[in-house]
């Protein structure tokens, strides 16, 4: 009798242990998903900011018509993109064009003194940072999740329920990784 009770208690404890590991795996995977959706939220934020930027800059930068048109074009491409690949491509083109704009603005001292633009500058920096931090956060969450999957004893539970390692976010366009080289002398 006592032997049966002891065995039952051990089984119950083991089950509880497995359930807690399973739950923490689910929790970590949800965080990965949540972090992934954050990237989209931040990209959308950038899309919303662009018309405002173009509006402010347009009057000053008469010679950069083509660049502005490109920015508008990439923005709508990114917004309409169907597949993840297309979207990533349009977003990286957009980042590149915005980087170019950032460089060109240095040639327009009047614009740089404009109050609206100064405020916008902070918003743009904030937006670019949000995008890069949301990617970073996603990679961090993937790291934690993958760690958990690889480590004992959670690797057993992960194997039992078919948890797979998530992929890290990598920037495809090497240009976007690079910090634009600008000299302001």
């Amino acid at each position: 009798m006592t032997a049966i009770i002891i065995i039952l208690v051990i089984i119950a404890a083991l089950a509880l242990f497995l359930v807690s590991i399973y739950n923490s795996l689910i929790q970590l995977r949800n965080r990965v998903k949540n972090a992934w959706s954050q990237i989209d939220v931040q990209l959308k934020r950038r899309h919303d900011l662009i018309p405002n930027l173009i509006e402010t800059v347009k009057g000053y930068m008469k010679h950069e018509r083509e660049l502005m048109e490109n920015i508008t074009k990439y923005r709508s491409q990114a917004m309409d993109a169907g597949s993840v690949g297309e979207k990533a491509k349009a977003e990286s083109l957009l980042s590149g064009a915005l980087g170019q704009l950032r460089v060109q603005i240095e040639n327009y001292p009047d614009l740089k003194a404009n109050q609206n633009f100064l405020a916008l500058q902070e918003e743009l920096t904030g937006t670019e940072n949000r995008i890069s931090f949301s990617r970073q956060a996603y990679n961090d969450q993937v790291l934690f999740f993958n760690n958990k999957i690889q480590m004992f004893p959670s690797n057993i539970v992960a194997g039992m329920f078919g948890f797979k390692e998530e992929e890290f976010f990598q920037i495809e366009d090497p240009k976007e990784k690079e910090v634009p080289k600008v000299s302001f002398s």
Binding site: R31, E122, G126, N129
Partner: protein, 409 residues
């Protein structure tokens, strides 16, 4: 980040058991002092009631009290867009679900603190002096440090540790005063019947304990507080991927000659630098809530193998020249050496003073008797004057360098 919270729970449980045991024993022994036979449980009950009342107050109104004591005011984004952006960036980097509320303290002393027991109603407060003094990257470092206090649940830990410490202090104080100023008539009437040696021992022990308990509890509390500061620095660097931001912010803060007006010992552990101590002092003693600021800066600047936790750990050991593990054990799970960010060239072109900062950092080290060795792998090893060994191993390529003895002269 999330891995660390787990180990924090274990750590906080240990701290609570230790502090709780002190409180429990204080109540018990003080109770027996007054009534040898039945006093113990009553004393324990009094101690626990006090603890419950204090806990309830700080749980339900703690943040409000803290904010009003520090003179902080909630602000909207229009007041300081950059601060809002930086806080939100760090919220995203920490993968936090809720945006903390933002408060500004109208004080010229540069400082900042975090509050809020739950992450849902967290608060980050910064002084006006801080906003005036720091550039965007430095502000980001400070905000990341505060965000780390929130995510690592330090606010919760230090609040309840503080409450328990408070209860111990009050109980001991009241007991000592009552012994000194009020006669203990009950003891006298009982002593004739029960007067054994054991009773005398308990009485002496109670008096000794009343003096020592608050001191011991405080030292324990402070040791934990300092550890949490190191961890918050390490987490901040992991969030921003840019140690120089926080390092140069700390440097600017320590250069300030202002003192924060509305700070006290209860709020002190939550600030980025200790608001109560004269700045710039080398405090290697046990009575500070924060590690010495110069040491924190040196550790951040010594991070050369990426910005993950083990890198902070080895920088700490290098600067302190010790084997001490400052971060929770789970920090070693952070195995990928994350790449340090380059000094950002963003929409702010004017922030190009990073390189001069680093050279001035080297210069300061030089003035502080640091010696430098250029390793063949390209990094510059900075050796503090306290370093006693005759050789040093390059943290990057593991080449062994002999130290010339003349560098000390």
């Amino acid at each position: 980040m999330w891995e660390l919270i787990e180990s924090n729970r274990h750590k906080s449980i240990l701290l609570f058991i230790a502090l709780g045991a002190v409180l429990f024993f204080s109540g018990y022994i003080f109770g027996r002092f007054y009534d040898y036979e039945y006093g113990g449980p009553i004393g324990v009950l009094i101690g626990l009631t006090l603890w419950l009342i204090l806990s309830a107050i700080s749980y339900f109104a703690g943040t409000k009290i803290l904010l009003s004591m520090s003179g902080a005011k909630e602000v909207t984004k229009a007041v300081h867009p950059q601060l809002f952006n930086v806080v939100e960036e760090m919220k995203i980097a920490a993968n936090l679900q809720h945006m903390p509320k933002i408060y500004i303290i109208d004080d010229p002393a540069p400082n900042a603190f975090a509050a809020g027991i739950k992450t849902e109603n967290a608060v980050i407060a910064v002084t006006a002096g801080l906003l005036g003094k720091l550039n965007r990257d430095e502000l980001q470092g400070v905000v990341a440090h505060e965000m780390a206090h929130i995510v690592n649940r330090d606010v919760l830990l230090m609040t309840f540790a503080g409450v328990t410490l408070g209860a111990i202090t009050i109980v001991s104080e009241v007991f000592l005063r009552s012994v000194i100023y009020g006669g203990n008539s009950r003891y006298k009437s009982k002593s004739s019947e029960k007067g054994g040696q054991l009773q005398l021992i308990i009485m002496v022990a109670a008096l000794v304990f009343a003096i020592l308990a608050p001191i011991m509890a405080r030292l324990l509390y402070l040791a934990v507080s300092r550890k949490r500061e190191y961890l918050a620095d390490a987490s901040a660097v992991r969030l921003t991927r840019y140690p120089e931001g926080l390092a140069s912010a700390l440097e600017k803060i320590s250069d300030s000659t202002y003192d924060l007006e509305k700070a006290n010992s209860i709020t002190a552990p939550m600030y980025i630098v200790n608001p109560l101590k004269k700045k710039g002092m080398k405090l290697s003693n046990l009575t500070s809530t924060h590690p010495p600021i110069s040491e924190r800066i040196n550790i951040l600047r010594a991070m050369q193998n990426g910005v993950h936790y083990p890198s902070y750990q080895s920088a700490f050991q290098f600067i302190r020249n010790s084997r001490e593990k400052i971060l929770p054990p789970t920090a070693s799970l952070d195995r990928v050496p994350l790449v340090m960010k380059k000094p950002p060239i963003g929409w702010y072109a004017q922030q190009d003073d990073k390189k001069t900062k680093r050279t001035s950092g080297d210069l300061i080290m030089q003035l502080n008797d640091f010696s430098f060795i250029d390793c063949s792998c390209g990094i510059k090893i900075k050796i503090p004057p306290e370093y006693k060994h005759t050789n040093i191993i390059c943290p990057k390529c593991s080449t062994k360098h002999e130290l010339p003895a003349i560098s000390k002269s």
